[in-house]
């Protein structure tokens, strides 16, 4: 074993207290330093943290940004989300292959550059986009790829890349990113001016129970998609047995088409951390964790700076703002490329240094969460709302929105529209009104809530965005009249196939079969019965899957089958010759013909 590797790993593990629950930090650091987590490395990590080698491999093999095989010093990950494809990422992909002289999944012969695809990186409003190590490059074109590759080849250091700077904090030296916020509509709750400390001061003058009641009175529900009442979650966590409790902010937004948390993390981090601190006080936690998706690593330094600023003002730390006995601090846990970690129990698994497998429920995180302690996991936007509720009061929060869904919601709008970006709108807005606002009045279809939500057509455009009608975590993707909705459904199924953790049968195998059936239809080999198979298989996956991923993953198929049935029906036909349409006699014979060194005499070419 090379001495360099062992001493580096020893150092890394030591910096994590040789604590195996910090495995994510350990393997991320090894990957960053050596471009891989090799067999040797895994053996040595296991030795340092006193676990089994196969347990390390279990984690390394789970996350997309970790690999056992060596990767280039520079890893280019082109986003292959549906919206990126609609924005021309396929041409961009071809340009990358041409400029680098390699195919996707390969590394240049000098071992310096690796080219890969990655699912949605949260840049749909500025697609096509790519992740280059931790740097993000947006609005890609073939010309831009040419310049980019030439630039990389000069230094092989993505932090030195030449690019224009985005707006807001994106232009700060510490971020130095070309990402644009694209805030299109500012509402009164999230994007109104934030008065630091106001909410926290009010909160600390109240008892934890009073805070929970205030949040309950504001009828705040989770903004990540599931819509669970936040006050109740806090109450359950507070009243659960145990001294040690945690609050975790879920900043792992990975739903294709979602990017609102990116903007909140960039521009509203202070408000977010204030919300976490208030939550920590309310539930009785002294530790908070921000779980940041690996794709947003470019924001980490900025977030650390905001945290440091809050520590220096005694908004974090000991006896916060003079409140004796209220100690609270926040650390950042990086993810490593796994959509499933947005599911709260998977996220907890990942924080514990495990595969991002969801956990069995019960027990719920509020009873037994991170390291077995009561834990409240809340979305970024939810915590920002909590901060505002404590600043302005529940009654103020209830003033806008619809009867059942008070206040505002952030929507990430992208796809075939003139003004993609983040919109803060009051709950209860009609789809048709939203389409007018974003410049997409000719839309054929709208995806509400990302692929795990629903794809609706014009018949549903009079419906409203709120918890009682079309609920959403915020992703809105618009499809113009020329898009093939069956192909869109197939693309989204490919995403779920890639991102299923593989724990339970229906999600692991069912999504693959759904995708396969859609491909069969798209290649013109579909039969009318296939539509029935899709329907029944989709329902089985939804009903029997273990977590929210599988329980919603068939939605792209099921909702397009319902709302765009004609598109399916025109693609399938009854076979007339009695042959299985998927059976290819030439392919079936190929192996035997090669061995026999002659062609079949019966099935002549």
């Amino acid at each position: 074993m090379s001495g360099n590797l062992t001493s580096a790993i020893k150092e890394i593990c030591k910096s994590c207290d040789n604590d195996r629950t910090r495995m994510m930090d350990i393997v991320r650091a090894v990957q960053q330093q050596f471009g891989q987590v090799s067999d040797e490395a895994m053996n040595y990590i296991a030795k340092c943290v006193n676990c089994h080698r196969v347990e390390v491999e279990s984690i390394v093999s789970f996350y997309a940004f970790l690999s056992k095989k060596p990767k280039g010093k520079v890893v280019i990950r082109l986003c292959n989300d549906v919206v990126d494809k609609m924005s021309g990422s396929e041409v961009v992909a071809a340009a990358f292959e041409k400029e680098l002289g390699i195919k996707f999944g390969q590394t240049t012969p000098d071992g310096k550059i690796t080219l890969e695809y990655t699912p949605c990186i949260g840049m749909c409003d500025q697609a096509p986009a790519a992740l280059i190590n931790d740097e993000i490059i947006t609005y890609l074109s073939t010309d831009k790829v040419k310049e980019l590759v030439a630039d990389i080849k000069k230094h092989y250091d993505p932090s030195k890349l030449n690019h224009r700077l985005g707006d807001g904090h994106n232009a700060d030296d510490i971020v130095h990113s070309c990402v644009h916020n694209n805030i299109r509509n500012k509402g009164r709750v999230i994007f109104a001016e934030f008065k630091p400390e106001a909410g926290l001061k009010n909160a600390l003058a109240m008892s934890p129970v009073e805070i929970i009641n205030e949040v309950k009175n504001a009828r705040l529900r989770g903004r990540g998609g599931a819509g669970f009442p936040t006050g109740m979650k806090w109450q359950f966590t507070r009243s659960a047995a145990g001294e040690k409790k945690y609050i975790i902010c879920n900043a792992d937004e990975g739903e294709p088409g979602t990017f609102k948390d990116r903007v909140l993390l960039t521009e509203c981090a202070d408000m977010l951390f204030e919300g976490m601190t208030i939550g920590g006080y309310a539930i009785g936690a002294d530790e908070g964790i921000l779980y940041l998706r690996g794709e947003y690593a470019y924001l980490r330094k900025l977030l650390e700076k905001v945290l440091a600023g809050r520590r220096s003002k005694n908004l974090l730390g000991k006896d916060i703002l003079g409140k004796k006995g209220f100690n609270f601090d926040i650390r950042i846990q990086m993810g490593a490329g796994a959509y499933i970690c947005g599911e709260e129990t998977s996220l907890i698994s990942s924080c514990e240094g495990l595969r991002g497998d969801p956990k069995n429920r019960p027990p719920f995180p509020a009873q037994k969460g991170y390291l077995g302690k009561p834990t409240s996991v809340n979305n970024v936007e939810t915590l920002c709302c909590a901060s505002r509720i404590l600043e302005m009061g529940a009654a103020w929060f209830l003033e806008v929105g619809s009867a059942g869904s008070p206040s505002t919601k952030l929507l990430s709008v992208s796809g075939d529209c003139k003004q993609p970006g983040v919109y803060e709108i009051p709950f209860g807005v009609k789809i048709s009104e939203l389409l007018k606002m974003v410049g997409a009045e000719d839309a054929q279809a709208v995806l509400i809530g990302g692929p795990s939500g629903r794809i609706v057509g014009p018949a549903d455009f009079k419906r409203t965005i709120c918890y009682d009608d079309l609920a959403t975590g915020g992703a809105v993707v618009v499809f113009g009249p020329e898009r093939d909705m069956v192909a869109v459904a197939a693309d989204y199924m490919e995403f779920f196939v890639e991102e299923s953790c593989g724990y339970c049968t229906p999600c692991r195998a069912g999504n693959v079969l759904l995708k396969k059936c859609l491909d069969k239809i798209l290649t013109g080999k579909g039969e009318p019965e296939d539509l029935d198979i899709l329907q029944k298989l989709g329902e089985s996956v939804k009903t029997t899957s273990r977590c929210g991923l599988g329980q919603t993953s068939p939605n792209p198929v099921l909702t397009t089958l319902m709302n765009f049935r004609k598109s399916y029906e025109t693609k399938v036909k009854k076979t007339t010759n009695g042959m299985q349409p998927m059976f290819d006699i030439r392919k079936a014979l190929a192996g035997a013909e090669t061995i026999a060194k002659r062609d079949s005499a019966i099935f002549v070419k």
Partner: protein, 234 residues
């Protein structure tokens, strides 16, 4: 808290103790809920989803869901049978299962479940994945073509044998059972006497040289369907 909980499964009253799962209480009462990954004395894995039942209308895995007073559980319904058939079909096509020459035939829980649910052949297209065989160990063979990722070997080795010979690696359709070595089972401390050598429901982890000690036709599920040992308690 009362020390007895009463609920119904398909209209039949069942009594259980607090902390029991639906599946445990049903087993004790002689009501069979089909299952594959569950094994007595191991922590319920909840991964195969065959034991999915409706509890007050909501789907839940019976092996992980605790019983609750007055709960209405649906188990043997046409809808759930259809879902279970679909799951079994998925398991067959996502692996490479050739019952006719598998030495586990007749003792295989997957095969037995297919027969019980009335599946003559899976309705989905075979995926024919490439899977590894590990025959390096002197006494044990691993044929991953037949693995259904139930997790029994992982748990038995970790929790009972205290060895962690097995663990899952990869994700999604690439998920598989790996061994605690750079490559092969022979490089681990696995023994044929380990609990983990006796838990595989299918023909994935099998003992060498004993495969045909009992002839086909006289095996566990050749004479009576899977689950009958539980149903006979009633």
């Amino acid at each position: 808290m009362s020390d007895q909980i009463t609920f119904t499964i398909d209209g039949v009253e069942v009594k259980g103790k607090p902390g029991q799962t639906i599946l445990e209480a049903a087993d004790a009462a002689g009501v069979y809920i089909p299952r594959l990954c569950f094994m007595k004395d191991l922590i319920p894995h909840g991964s195969c989803r065959v034991c999915t039942v409706f509890i007050n209308g909501r789907p839940q895995a019976a092996c992980t869901q605790p019983i609750a007073e007055g709960a209405i559980v649906e188990n043997d319904t046409p809808e759930l049978k259809e879902h279970r058939r679909n799951i079994i079909d998925m398991l067959f096509v996502e692996g490479n299962h050739f019952c006719m020459f598998c030495e586990k035939s007749g003792n295989c829980e997957l095969q037995a479940m297919a027969y019980r649910l009335g599946i003559p052949a899976p309705k989905y297209p075979y995926l024919f994945p490439k899977r590894d065989v590990d025959a390096t160990h002197p006494d044990i063979l691993i044929d991953r073509n037949r693995c259904i990722l139930c997790g029994r070997c992982v748990e038995a080795s970790r929790d009972v044998d205290k060895k962690t010979v097995f663990e899952f690696v990869g994700r999604g359709a690439d998920k598989k059972v790996a061994v605690n070595a750079d490559a092969d089972l022979k490089d681990t401390d696995f023994k044929a006497t380990d609990k983990a050598a006796d838990v595989c429901p299918v023909g994935c982890i099998i003992k060498k040289r004993v495969g045909f000690a009992i002839p086909v036709g006289q095996r566990k599920y050749d004479t009576k369907p899977i689950g009958s040992e539980i149903e006979n308690k009633r």
